[in-house]
């Protein structure tokens, strides 16, 4: 063992004084450099100087290296190139479609956000649904079809709303669709209440479906004069059917009084834009079984309700 060690030692370079002192000097130099850089800033000029020199050299080297680096790319078969063209075309089409539908997607997202907020506000579980068909004006009724039916827990006499306010109520439902009678319809009568004075009345549609369609509010107290800009909300029915309480309907825009009638007619502009209906929510009792995700009121709203 000792002999082997000795032989191994003999094979090693004898270390002379100068190379050892060189090592110490270099290690100290390294430590100095690290310290200087650690303290900060002192080596920036050196770094920049080296960069000024090495940067162009790297650029040139990259130019020399690029052809070699590209060698594997020359060996492509025709079929693999065709495959790539097909794949890229498909990707292109997909991306183009995405670009084209970005605005729609963004609006949809905003609507879902609004619906979730509405669920919290009215403290009701909502079934999200899209309007898929509008009834024609020739039928003289304002109805729409939504893509949620009994399978989603929707049945007749449920409140339909969106993130702006009350839309209407469900009048019939199939397995996968439901028909909604809009507020604007002549047959639609909703019990409402003015927010500032708690005066009650009935809101009736006028059978128009245009951007500036309005509702008539007939107040029970004929002597009361409504204020312009006052908000009407639903006062609700027994068991929340057909209308749940506290859903905003619209704003008072004009007040008419005629001596012929015992009550005053108040004109209400609905908050909902009926010409651009898309995502709506159907208020269902909690615990409803549904084939889709329900929009539930948020944690904070539930807490407030419990208080």
């Amino acid at each position: 063992m000792a002999m082997r060690e000795k032989r191994w030692r003999d094979r090693l370079e004898p270390v002379d004084r100068s190379s050892r002192s060189t090592l110490v000097a270099l290690v100290l130099a390294c430590a100095t450099l690290i310290t200087l850089d650690h303290v900060g800033g002192a080596l920036d000029p050196a770094r920049r100087a080296v960069g000024e020199f090495v940067g162009p050299a790297e650029d040139a080297a990259n130019g020399v290296v690029a052809p070699f680096e590209a060698v594997p790319r020359w060996f492509h078969t025709r079929s693999s190139l065709e495959d790539r063209v097909t794949a890229l075309k498909a990707e292109n089409a997909l991306l183009r479609q995405q670009v084209a539908t970005t605005a729609l997607d963004r609006n949809r997202l905003a609507e879902y956000d609004g619906l979730a907020a509405t669920a919290s506000t009215v403290r009701h579980t909502l079934v999200p649904a899209h309007v898929i068909a509008h009834g024609p004006a020739q039928s003289f009724s304002q109805t729409v079809t939504i893509d949620a039916g009994t399978a989603a827990g929707v049945h007749a006499d449920l409140t339909v709303l969106n993130n702006d306010g009350l839309v209407g109520r469900v009048i019939s439902a199939t397995r996968s669709t439901a028909t909604v009678l809009l507020l604007l319809d002549r047959d639609s009568v909703v019990g409402g209440r003015l927010g500032s004075s708690m005066e009650v009345g009935f809101l009736q549609g006028r059978g128009q479906l245009s951007g500036d369609a309005t509702l008539d509010l007939k107040l029970l107290d004929g002597a009361f004069i409504a204020n312009k800009g006052d908000t009407a909300v639903t006062f609700g029915s027994e068991d929340g059917a057909p209308y749940i309480a506290g859903v905003p309907i619209g704003k008072v825009t004009a007040v008419y009084s005629s001596p012929r009638e015992t009550s005053r007619r108040v004109e209400i502009k609905p908050f909902v834009d009926f010409t651009a209906l898309d995502l709506v929510g159907v208020a269902v009792p909690s615990g409803t079984r549904s084939d889709r995700g329900l929009v539930k009121p948020g944690q904070s709203a539930a807490k407030e309700a419990g208080r």
């Binding site: 094979r11 090693l12 370079e13 004898p14 270390v15 002379d16 100068s18 190379s19 060189t22 090592l23 270099l26 290690v27 130099a29 390294c30 430590a31 100095t32 450099l33 690290i34 200087l36 850089d37 650690h38 080596l43 050196a46 770094r47 080296v50 960069g51 090495v54 940067g55 050299a57 790297e58 080297a61 990259n62 290296v65 070699f68 680096e69």
Partner: protein, 174 residues
């Protein structure tokens, strides 16, 4: 003459560093490239001894520390390569013109790669330069080791020949 030799060594280092940052990233495995500068220092150590290799290691390390993509504290690679150069220089077989066996060259390169990358990583740990976990570090060190061992038979013998050709007559110390 010694100026020309020094310039030649510097040129070799520069080419090594340039290849390391321009060509090898295209063939890198998990982003790890072979340490060409380290192999230059190994070749120098095996032919020219600890003093020359340490100085060359310092120069090459400094180049790696200051050349553009680098953003670590300057001096870390220099420290690692100085130690590598010195250690490899120490295992050089004594005597003018004596050649190490091929197995020894590969073993020296492997040991140098492990030592150099570990030293660099350890200095990073101490300085908390980039904070990297030890398992990640070990993986990088091992991949670099494999790279260096693979390239050693191709690159180190020609470089050793070059260093031997440019070596001034050695004074025997025995």
């Amino acid at each position: 003459m010694s100026l020309v030799r020094g310039f030649l060594a510097l040129l070799l280092l520069l080419v090594a560093v340039l290849l390391q940052v321009t060509f090898f990233p295209h063939v890198a495995w998990h982003g790890v490239v072979p340490d060409l500068a380290l192999l230059v220092v190994v070749a120098a150590g095996l032919t020219r001894g600890p003093q020359f290799a340490a100085v060359l290691g310092f120069t090459g390390g400094l180049l790696l520390d200051l050349a553009p993509p680098a953003d670590h504290y300057a001096g870390r690679w220099a420290l690692a390569l100085v130690v590598v150069g010195f250690v490899v220089g120490r295992i050089r077989p004594p005597g003018q013109g004596s050649r190490p066996e091929p197995v020894m060259v590969v073993a020296a390169a492997a040991a140098a790669s492990f030592l150099g990358t570990s030293l660099f990583a350890l200095s990073g740990l101490v300085l908390q330069d980039p904070v990297v976990s030890v398992p990640d570090m070990l993986q990088v060190i091992l991949v670099a080791l494999v790279w260096d061992v693979l390239l050693t038979p191709l690159l180190v013998p020609p470089m050793m020949l070059l260093f031997r050709r440019t070596e001034p007559a050695r004074v025997s110390l025995a």
